[in-house]
Symmetry: C2
Subunit: 374 residues, 2 copies
Amino acid sequence: MSVDARHGLNRHVTLPGSLVLDGGGSLTPVEIAYETYGTLSPERDNAILVCHALTGDQHLASVHPRTGKPGWWARMVGPGKPIDTDRFCVVCPNVLGSCMGTSGPASIDPATGRPYGMAFPVITVRDMVRAQAMLLDHLGIGALAAVVGGSMGGMQALSWAATFPDRVRAALVIASTARHTAQNIAFHEVGRQAIMADPRWQGGDYGDAPPAAGLAVARMAAHITYLSEAGLTEKFGRRLQARDAQEDPKLSFGFDADFQVESYLRHQGLSFVDRFDANSYLYITRAMDYFDLAEEHGGRLADAFRGSATRFCIVSFDTDWLYPTAESRTVVHALNAAGLAVSFVELSSPYGHDAFLLDSPALDRVVGGFLGAA
Amino acid sequence: MSVDARHGLNRHVTLPGSLVLDGGGSLTPVEIAYETYGTLSPERDNAILVCHALTGDQHLASVHPRTGKPGWWARMVGPGKPIDTDRFCVVCPNVLGSCMGTSGPASIDPATGRPYGMAFPVITVRDMVRAQAMLLDHLGIGALAAVVGGSMGGMQALSWAATFPDRVRAALVIASTARHTAQNIAFHEVGRQAIMADPRWQGGDYGDAPPAAGLAVARMAAHITYLSEAGLTEKFGRRLQARDAQEDPKLSFGFDADFQVESYLRHQGLSFVDRFDANSYLYITRAMDYFDLAEEHGGRLADAFRGSATRFCIVSFDTDWLYPTAESRTVVHALNAAGLAVSFVELSSPYGHDAFLLDSPALDRVVGGFLGAA
């Protein structure tokens, strides 16, 4: 078999043609950074597209170049794993608007020769999906054996099934939703305001001096929504942060991080700014807030899926308060109303929304089982 | 009856003596701004202390001098109202650490002649209560007919009963908790980091140029926790903000406030900075995070109340996810374990934590009934 240079880790492509956007404009060129795992079958019928979440990237099961950490779903994707690369060819692109090589606000605007910044067009989840479809065209992949995603990745999976029903044989949607609620929007708006309030943001033209303080605050606020109250209590409770190995930790009666949960959140904020672009955070949260699949189909979610032959599996976690089970149930009801094959499972986990990224044998069985039936 | 100049609206007193603080230091002088409503009986046995929440103040039922709005509990306090000023003498002090006339970080530090800023000592809820006890001494009030408070006001009511059991005949604790959880601390820490990340904060020495952007972000994040998801959906859903009376509102594909919930949150943030001091926000959130009544009593909450004769009424709201009913139930169990008289009611409301401030006939009946039995 000849080696296909389009496949492998750390790939990057500048796609021909322009991408027409929901907002009315278009984007040219469209660059996509992506990785593939496993081998495309001669029939080209074993491709699985994995869509990442808000701050995820294409390093699905490879070491992240900036953090040195394993890929974000390394436990899920590989030979013999639930997403089995002995059997499937897995494609994972960095989403449009992000900052790991795919076109986004940090990319060079050909009109000016400088980074787009806030001149980058506002995009939607459907625009991300259309860009991914262009990538699949480039890779010579017609229909997907499956599209898989958690959180914003699940939104993309839903949008894929609604936008390109003939290209999606199965869709696996984990810890996700068909629309952002007022509370979801509210939390994102806090994050955006934190970034834009940082004087370093400079209207998006921050160059090499990013609004790190604002971005860290945005990440801290968002991070709370990824964890359950019970999970935070189990992990941290009111335990104090040790400052000195000689003594028991005690309240400082100051503004240092006295509680372990404070220290943890500060670390989450600070480490995030090393790997993520503030403007990308603005654009991607905006795309998520705009997401309302029913609204794109005349207000009836079932109409997004009517006539499709895609098999669905919808998974929620009982302690996820960001995208609670009720949101998944709404999707399941719509799929049933449209007459599609759908299985639905609510998994039990103490870890809230983040559970989809963590070790979960039950999730592994659901994912492996659903894809194994492909 | 002679007029007692210590009573009435817009009172302010510099108390003699110094206040010894939980953090180890002491505060001298202690200034307290307060209001009283109704008349103290000749027996001085009809006083009710109302304790306010994080961003509340002494303007319980009088017009707020900065906003021009009615007092924050005007619907609850007055002649013939549930807290009946025809019968009770109601005292409402601004809490220690706040910014409406009581000693706080904006007060003048006698050691330097300049505002304390971050040189103000870190305080606790119990310190707030001790300062209030000094005020009652000044007013010639021994035992309270009742202490009443919602949210942080409820923490003070619990701390009053635990610290001065002989001075509290009844305690009414609404939408509150006996300790801050990891999630409670996490949200406050986001707010503090937002303030301290604002370059205008200047280590607390901001003078007349306060860190308004950071404080607004802190308020926005906190405000989400005061509302229920269902309440936000009912009030705003995904409805768009009208920009032009001529057309139906539509997505801007930009970063203006497209959704009504964004516009509402921005307004909450901006209007807050006109009436509240950023350093006070740091100190009071810190006091709340430190609050753990069990920990102050050897780890057993029941021991905080053992031997007391105080009657209790504990009220929670079913959609309050900041201090959910489970936290109130923990308090009730401890009171039962200590053998005290306690009634407990969970009220139904769509409005989340903020329900205690809103029109609620059921709450009015509970408050009126409990205090009427005094």
